[in-house]
Symmetry: C2
Subunit: 435 residues, 2 copies
Amino acid sequence: MSQKPLPGFRDFYPDQFAERAHIFDTWRRVVRRYAFQEYDGPPLEPLELYTQKSGEEIVTQLYNFTDKGDRAVAMRPEMTPTFARMVGAKAQALRKPVRWFAIPQLFRYERTQKGRLREHFQLNVDIVGEADVLADAELLSIAIEIMRAFGLSDRDVRARVSDRRLLNGLLSHLGIAESSWAAVYAVLDKLERQPREVSAEKLAAAGLDANTVDTVLGFGTLDFATVAARYGDAPAVREHVERFRQYLAYLDALGVAAWVQFDLTIVRGLAYYTGIVFELFDNVGEFRAICGGGRYDNLLKSLGGTDLPALGFGMGDVVIGELLRSRGLLHAVPAAPAFWVAQSPDTGDAPQAALRTARALRDADCAVEFTLRSQKLDKQLEAGRKADARAFVIVDPSSAEAPWRVRRSAHDDLVFSSLEALVAWASMPHESSHE
Amino acid sequence: MSQKPLPGFRDFYPDQFAERAHIFDTWRRVVRRYAFQEYDGPPLEPLELYTQKSGEEIVTQLYNFTDKGDRAVAMRPEMTPTFARMVGAKAQALRKPVRWFAIPQLFRYERTQKGRLREHFQLNVDIVGEADVLADAELLSIAIEIMRAFGLSDRDVRARVSDRRLLNGLLSHLGIAESSWAAVYAVLDKLERQPREVSAEKLAAAGLDANTVDTVLGFGTLDFATVAARYGDAPAVREHVERFRQYLAYLDALGVAAWVQFDLTIVRGLAYYTGIVFELFDNVGEFRAICGGGRYDNLLKSLGGTDLPALGFGMGDVVIGELLRSRGLLHAVPAAPAFWVAQSPDTGDAPQAALRTARALRDADCAVEFTLRSQKLDKQLEAGRKADARAFVIVDPSSAEAPWRVRRSAHDDLVFSSLEALVAWASMPHESSHE
């Protein structure tokens, strides 16, 4: 029997599962503060759901096949098409704005390399039915509050934010023909990673004159105040600057402005986003983007659904896990038993009294374990120590008065003369073993 | 765009997701009381992982394909092979007994018919490394305590239990050749569903004489006391009766004996189980088995892993969901906002004060929503009512003294003069909106 999972797939032993659960729990805790509701869809969908949005090229990256009913199907590489399908099917009946989240496992057949998996889990948070920029601020604040809940600060992570409409307004104001915008986007997207001459050549090839090339190459260092001062009165730009100013004011009221950095090089998927877009990065630049998202007002309609404005982000479990681990912020471990129940005297008798005790403690929602065979007391206690039990309950059915002793350390025995008293004590909040 | 999932696959809208979450949460809550640790494995595995255990026939039921690296792979139809692989890979290092659980989604290409899906979620609970029958009692008590946690009683559900070793002892005692046992098992498995004459013919064809055929056909109505009285002294049976008696005593000490019914017609997978086996059924006989499991001491070794005794059960989300729904015990709904924050006066001003209030309440872990655009107060409140908000917070930044009013019903306004006071009140347990 092979002892390994497929390349790019992960086994989650309890140690790894505890880390994953910490990430999922933190995601859920924050998103629920924002009153979002969780949904899920199938991990296998018709192939066309994905080719319709992303074109046939995506098939090379998919786990796709023909099922036994001759359907072309694919394991989901992203959640948005499923989300769009589900919202579309009930668009009339759903309360707007729709505020939904999901934590799907996603699959891509990529070349496996360091840190590149073929599956990951991704928090998806989406709002449908609200065009106002306040929705954009609400959305980004969720991603940032998640960082805060993980123990990260604005010294660790920044949110780089652009606005597709503002950028279009700038290009328009600079006299760049709309047919060249895609080329400009591509250059901006690579501005940090590609030599300046290469970028300049590409812009020139797209028809920009030398002055405009210089201006565009300077976009990477423009802050919002400079854009507002320099271009804020231009007719093609004005309303977009005003909207973005409003967005920043909302982010400030929501308490996350310090994390946000205006950055016109944040482009993201060309065919997809229509407004404000953002990505979260660690400040050291050590990892890939932690999170990315933005406004995609035309997507639901283009997928044949209803025409509703929408925005959302995705955050994978892998990059955030690496970042938290590197900062010493991922120390989740599986829960140990709250109580290890043992039975004395040292006779190896059938442990009925221990079982009744365990049952009563479990009824009070305590995590309880005991030796799964009759054993001498020292063996029972040794097993409990190996399990890292937080406390021992030693029951002695031969004692008439005080058969239950609770031992939390060598010098700390509590004695109970009834099971009810023991359970009442174990149920007290400060002794609680609730998870 | 197709608005439907693939046949046999489910969309989980928030309403359905809340029901699924109630089932998962109940599973986790009970299993954690037993100090089990959660794990997970890949939903896609090498095909041979499944054919090795179940033979080539299983392929007709699988979502299997060749991936882009020419590997024969399959979406997991069950968790046990992955569990065996994971335990096998670290058998030396793991503390024994291993007490693990998982809630994988499983996939089978079955003919879709009423109530038959092609995916479901299944709680898997397994113990590895303990041969004693106390482990069998512990395992069954988990399945039964889950029923209790769902609000079901021993009037709703019974656990039908047999012991493969005891049954073998009986067949041996009756002089039935070991080569005929498989045929006897097959008849017992169908005893309830197949005409008595058919069963009798099959047993005769397997070489049983008329007397023995009658005896075996009577197995379906034998209780344990009768078996013990009638066969308990037979050398081939004695130790198995004793063990089973001990098992029942343990179940009694664990508080679940009333749910348990001895039933020699519970057979389950032939090549798999080696000891006590069980299935949970609703008492009306309305649904398929809720849960099934037992001891499979040889499986880990036969899959090329380590030779460790093991036992476990699986419980799907579909049958238990149908049963709970039919009994009125599945009424989970998505959480509504604890607070809807609105801003007055009725000016439609930018809602900075509302945003700051929302942020402070969210910091205190309350679920908070507000209108995602500037709106008049009555529109804001109407939106909150549509969202079923449990309470309204109306902030009036033009008021110097008491800008925060909390309204839980028409005649119940609380007034706070500082945000800190509001948050302190909202954080009190009786007002808590923690999920």
